[in-house]
């Protein structure tokens, strides 16, 4: 999640509820894994919001103004850590099927091959 050395994820919002059972994992995650996660990524601004009566989610705000919301309802703290790490590791680009696995601006170095080319 770094385009030319610049981290793309600006902010991570952990939204949870202190009453609901679906937020149990998130609450445990916030106590156990979140401090370590914050230390690993110091450039990232992690905010926890209390949202009573709603299911918990992780919201990632990226540099290209893209928002990725991941629901962490009824998930274990380890799974939530995995989700958060995935958000941190990805660019904010839209998840589209890849056309090619090799993206280049200069496809040819020695000249593009043509039928008229003589070695």
């Amino acid at each position: 999640m770094a385009l030319r050395g610049v981290w793309q994820l600006n902010k991570l919002i952990v939204s949870y509820c202190d009453w609901g059972g679906s937020s149990r994992g998130v609450r445990a995650f916030m106590e156990s894994h979140l401090p370590a996660f914050k230390e690993i990524s110091p450039q990232l601004e992690v905010v926890s919001e209390l949202n009573r009566g709603q299911h918990p989610y992780l919201k990632g705000l990226y540099r290209n103004k893209n928002e990725r919301v991941v629901s962490v309802k009824n998930m274990t703290p380890e799974d939530i850590l995995l989700c958060a790490t995935r958000l941190r590791n990805s660019l904010g680009r839209k998840v589209v099927k890849l056309k090619t696995r090799h993206v280049t601006k200069h496809p040819s170095v020695q000249g593009t091959w043509t039928t008229e080319l003589k070695m």
């Binding site: 770094a2 590791n89 998840v95 090799h102 170095v109 020695q110």
Partner: protein, 273 residues
């Protein structure tokens, strides 16, 4: 038939005793005390025919009787297996479990050296240092390299990005060296490796670890009431190629630009004058 069955049980139990590491003596002894008087009455020919063969083969003919012995000691496997085979499997399972436990401990606590070795073998990469305030992103150079990562090969140049299967032991913003280089080329020269070029190195930086778009795997057999839907997202790593080493790079052409600037300045001064 009943007599033959008793012989079978007796023989199988004898083999059980010989093979089992922790025999439960009491049920076996009880059965043995009952069995002998049956032996005396029955035909010897059947016994002789049966004894030289393997215990596994004997037991396979009459699998139902083996359950009593082996399942006393251990939890039932739930399958109708032979005496000897069951015990052998259980022993093997114990060994496997122990070795698996050792392996699990081994895997979870892999040392850095092992990780680097695995990385070097599988992914043909060496983890360099993390990105600091280095000027790694150079302008385009007309040099290419054919690089192999895992089982995939790419023709790569400076500034390209590559999507590769997820690389385990590297984080985002890590510098990598792809050391499996099969070919190098520039405008004037081409170097072909056999199969690898030993002194060549391709530097790359990990840009992201992300999941690919979801692919739905749909299986159907028509008129058979069979339909399955499965979603799959492949984990990929995006690498940005920064440098190719091992070939003489052609010099960049700043002279053209300076000439242009010089001419422009001359024109401007001329116009102003």
């Amino acid at each position: 038939m009943a007599n033959r069955r008793c012989i079978q049980t007796l023989i199988s139990r004898c083999f059980c005793i010989s093979h089992s590491p922790n025999p439960s003596p009491h049920p076996i002894l009880k059965t043995l005390t009952i069995a002998p008087h049956f032996l005396l009455q029955t035909e010897y020919s059947t016994v002789q025919s049966l004894t030289p063969t393997d215990p596994g083969k004997i037991c396979s003919a009459f699998p139902s009787f083996s359950r009593h012995l082996c399942s006393d000691n251990r939890t039932s496997m739930g399958s109708i297996d032979n005496d000897g085979d069951e015990e052998e499997e259980e022993e093997e399972d114990d060994d496997d479990d122990e070795s698996e436990d050792e392996e699990r401990v081994h895997l979870s606590g892999k040392s850095d050296e092992q990780k680097a070795e695995e990385a070097a073998e599988i992914g043909y990469k060496v983890i360099g240092l993390l990105e600091e305030s280095d000027r790694v992103f150079k302008p385009y150079e007309p040099v290419f390299a054919v690089v192999q990562v895992g089982s995939h090969q790419f023709k790569v140049s400076n500034g390209d990005s590559i999507f590769v299967e997820k690389l385990k032991y590297c984080d985002v913003n890590d510098k990598l060296i792809l050391n499996r280089v099969l070919m190098l080329g520039s405008t004037a020269q081409t170097i072909i490796g056999r199969p690898v070029l030993p002194d060549a190195a391709v530097h790359a930086v990990v840009e992201e670890h992300a999941l690919d778009a979801k692919v739905i795997i749909f299986k159907k057999k028509r008129r058979k009431n069979y339909r399955r839907t499965k979603g799959h997202r492949q984990e990929l790593t995006k690498l940005r190629i920064t440098d190719i080493q091992g070939i003489a790079k052609p010099e960049p052409i700043p002279s053209m630009k300076t000439e242009k600037r010089a001419t422009k300045k001359v024109e401007k001064t001329a116009v102003s004058a």
